[in-house]
Symmetry: C2
Subunit: 235 residues, 2 copies
């Protein structure tokens, strides 16, 4: 089975292609403000390096957030469009699970953090000691202090903090968690869509395949546009 | 500091670029029989996606093996050439260390294995529990049975087997090691040059910068050409 997986939830997008149980190409590229113009050409390019075209893909997978609204929307829409055009199924996975997969077989708990702006974090807490991350705190959006309280109530041991949120709130995490805080080396702050292939295979085995129209973003909070729209409707 | 790191020791080459402590682009691509034609254009392409040119790179890094002789030679020669042309330093790192870095903070021992053909493996054993892998068995070339004996003499616990060698000798490893053997999920069988950036930074901090002419491949065994040449010289 040929699988294409993408993650566009942060500014460093990631695209990977697998043929059966082998990664044949992966690309991480900065898509600041250029995602919609760059994602499809980049998908076509990396498929070509592996001697494939989009028509050869059997399963399309995308992270569904949380993360940049524009990024998640663009990634999900791209995968929806490709799956629809080629009449193939698709699957979604959490961007935070994907980030946690950088720590395969780590016995220390892993807290992936994506900067949610407005002094909040998208975050979760995972047990990564087996090949798939197992959630201890599910994907949520919280101010850093409230998140760290919840982590301390959940685990007594050390915690690996990873992602752009961990970089942004490094000092606050270090102050609150002391020597229980481990900060990932910086290449691990980026997701790898190759790990999304594993999440897609797992979803496929569990029968969680979706029609393109069923693949929906998970934003965890309302967008500014929605908030403004709702507030205008109030008397 | 801008760093370019590459690994061409296996058929899936990997190239990464970091600006200060941030990965700005990474590419994994299949280079079967096309490495020499594809590596420099691919380096230029991924630099361009990050708004950089080769002249912007301050430090050039390459894996120096073990692995495919042709691959390692091509990668080292490319980095030597770029460093020489732009009068910048270079550093080398082990392809097996790089593979082990897929298991950051794993408390289980990690055995990276690259198929060395001729019924042998390039392999090592690492403690990956901190951010840099620490060798318990140094890079070596051995038949699988001898390697597994040495691993069993070194550690009593579980061992994560990773790399194309672990795929090729899966059954023999499983039979010999029983439930002590853990096999990596398949995306982890590929190296990520982004982790090589960390190895390059570490080498730089320790003052292990090289002149281009000092960056040398580590093959661990003589090539067929050398063996044939030597045997012809015997009386």
């Amino acid at each position: 089975m040929n699988i294409l997986a993408i993650d566009t939830s942060t500014s460093l997008a990631s695209i990977a292609v697998a043929v059966d149980d082998q990664i044949v190409a992966e690309s991480l590229l900065n898509t600041n403000r250029t995602l919609s113009a760059r994602i499809v050409p980049e998908i076509e390019r990396i498929l070509a390096t592996a001697g494939l075209t989009i028509a050869d893909i059997d399963l399309f997978a995308s992270s569904i957030g949380p993360g940049s609204f524009t990024g998640v929307r663009g990634g999900v829409a791209t995968i929806q469009g490709l799956a629809l055009a080629f009449a193939k199924p698709c699957v979604g996975f959490s961007s935070l699970s994907l980030l946690a997969m950088n720590f395969s077989h780590a016995t220390t708990r892993v807290c992936p953090m994506i900067d949610a702006r407005k002094s909040e974090l998208y975050a979760a807490l995972f047990d990564c000691s087996s090949s798939l991350p197992s959630p201890l705190i599910s994907d949520c959006v919280l101010p850093p202090a409230a998140l760290l309280d919840q982590i301390s109530a959940t685990t007594e041991g050390a915690v690996i903090f990873v992602g752009d949120g961990a970089v942004r709130y490094h000092d606050q995490i270090a102050e609150r968690m002391g020597n229980r805080a481990i900060f990932a080396s910086f290449p691990l702050n980026n997701t790898h869509a190759a790990n999304g292939i594993i999440l897609a295979q797992h979803a496929s085995k569990e029968g969680r395949l979706l029609e393109p129209g069923q693949l929906l973003p998970v934003y965890l909070r309302a967008s500014d546009a929605e908030i403004n729209h709702t507030s205008k409707k109030l008397p």
